[in-house]
């Protein structure tokens, strides 16, 4: 797998701390929803730093979008979310990952559960579902700190492809919201996710503690562990 040159052709601020980079990649081979790319930065003296970022966009010919959450103590994410300008060139390698993926040919119900910036690869699945007019029914649970931390809020307000979206706000709720801040728990999952007897394929992505809790709750609710696919990242580890 070789490094390719990508030109930054667009930038979108999604939240105060997250930015989407639109990349035009030479000879991009295309991707499957859920995959990620490595981005490599090189300093003038040859020092390099590489990190993985989830792809947010639906498969496209030579364009790929990644959404980067800024970690204030990070080495790469502050550069990508603050310093990069349209026209810059970056090096990318990918797409990477063949397990945490959803293909539009699959017809089983899809259950997406995302926490924080772990929602990014799930958005690629939502967009792929719409772009390919998939008939697979999709439900999404999105756990997020506060309303201003919701990624792709405008797009999710009119979810493409009839995706049923349920938010769990963990620290601050929107005005007029009928519930207190809460974490995703068994009650919320029972109300908002496919029951186990519909045999959904579930994708759970987010910080480690979130993924551990949600995956355990899904198994406790009767889901076959083999149908629950997870991707986890810690404050320092994982794929961001």
């Amino acid at each position: 797998m070789s490094w390719r040159v990508a030109r930054v052709s667009g930038l979108r601020d999604e939240t105060p701390s997250a930015r989407t980079l639109v990349l035009d990649v030479e000879d991009w081979p295309g991707h499957v929803a859920g995959q990620h790319v490595d981005i490599r930065l090189t300093a003038a003296d040859g020092y390099t730093a590489t990190r993985s970022y989830s792809i947010a966009s639906a498969p496209d010919v030579e364009r790929v979008e990644v959404t980067v959450e800024r970690l204030d103590d990070g080495e790469v994410s502050p550069y990508l979310t603050r310093d990069v300008i349209v026209g810059d060139q970056l090096e990318v390698r990918g797409p990477i990952g063949g397990w945490f993926v959803w293909r539009p040919e699959e017809e089983a119900p899809v259950q997406l559960v995302g926490g924080g910036s772990g929602f990014v690869p799930l958005m690629s699945m939502v967009r792929t579902h719409a772009a390919r007019s998939s008939s697979a029914p999709v439900r999404l649970v999105y756990s997020v700190r506060a309303p201003d931390a919701v990624l792709y809020a405008g797009e999710l307000a009119r979810p493409p492809g009839h995706v049923q979206v349920t938010y769990a706000y963990t620290r601050a709720v929107p005005e007029g919201w009928p519930d207190r801040p809460r974490r995703v728990d068994a009650e919320l999952l029972a109300a908002a996710t496919w029951p186990a007897d519909r045999r959904p394929r579930s994708y759970v992505c987010g910080p480690t503690g979130f993924v551990e809790a949600v995956a355990d709750l899904l198994v406790a609710a009767g889901h076959d562990p083999r149908t629950v696919r997870t991707e986890r990242f810690g404050p320092t580890g994982g794929t961001r």
Binding site: A43, T48, E91, T230, R232, G237
Partner: protein
């Protein structure tokens, strides 16, 4: 040298000179797995080595934990780029588990509770290079980190150190495991940065 990133200076983190290429140091212990955490009671736990002729060598928890154990301090390198240095484990060496196993096989397929698999050459499991570990940092190994017991092969990327290990099948041919079947490197040497299939 790659394309220079305008204005990027980087941070050359502490200790990076002792790490394999492309890795950075972490002090916590991130959790990575492809699915839910398996919870296997030690009463139900068994570990089986199956040879290329079909001969089986099996240990239950009592027999396994009665074997001589090693205390080892090793560095961990995850393909997602974190490395954790000087981690303390207790486990049974594969040399001990293989002592009475007659085989001329060259390859091992490691299997876990929950269905995970990973493959490696048998010679990477012997000569003090690999353990079935069941204690970490002085405590029983937590299920999130692969307890009750996981394989520990610290000279390869951590996905080779299968969590919730249940057995090893020896064979004359190499069969790709779970991650090895979906784009990750067949061998996975962090010092040669063998992350992905080319």
């Amino acid at each position: 040298m790659g394309l220079i990133s305008r204005g990027f200076t980087g941070r050359r983190r502490e200790g990076a000179e002792d790490l394999p290429p492309g890795q950075y140091l972490t002090h916590d212990f991130p959790v990575l797995a492809a699915g839910p955490t398996q919870r296997v009671p030690t009463d139900d736990w068994k570990f089986t080595i199956t040879t290329e002729t079909g001969a089986r060598h099996e240990w239950d928890w009592a027999a396994f934990t009665a074997l001589p154990r090693d205390e080892v301090t090793v560095d961990l390198h995850c393909v997602t780029r974190w490395s954790k240095l000087h981690t303390d484990w207790e486990g049974v060496s594969l040399d001990t588990l293989l002592a009475d196993v007659e085989t001329s096989a060259h390859y091992a397929l490691v299997e876990s509770y929950g269905g995970y698999t990973t493959n490696l050459p048998l010679e990477d499991l012997t000569d003090g290079q690999a353990w079935v570990a069941f204690r970490y940092d002085g405590e029983d190994l937590d299920p999130e980190h692969g307890g009750p017991a996981r394989l520990l092969v610290p000279h390869l990327y951590l996905w080779k150190s299968a969590k919730w290990v249940r057995g090893i099948t020896l064979s004359d041919h190499d069969e790709p495991g779970f991650w090895e079947s979906v784009g990750y490197h067949n061998y996975g040497d962090p010092w040669r940065e063998q992350r992905y299939w080319e």
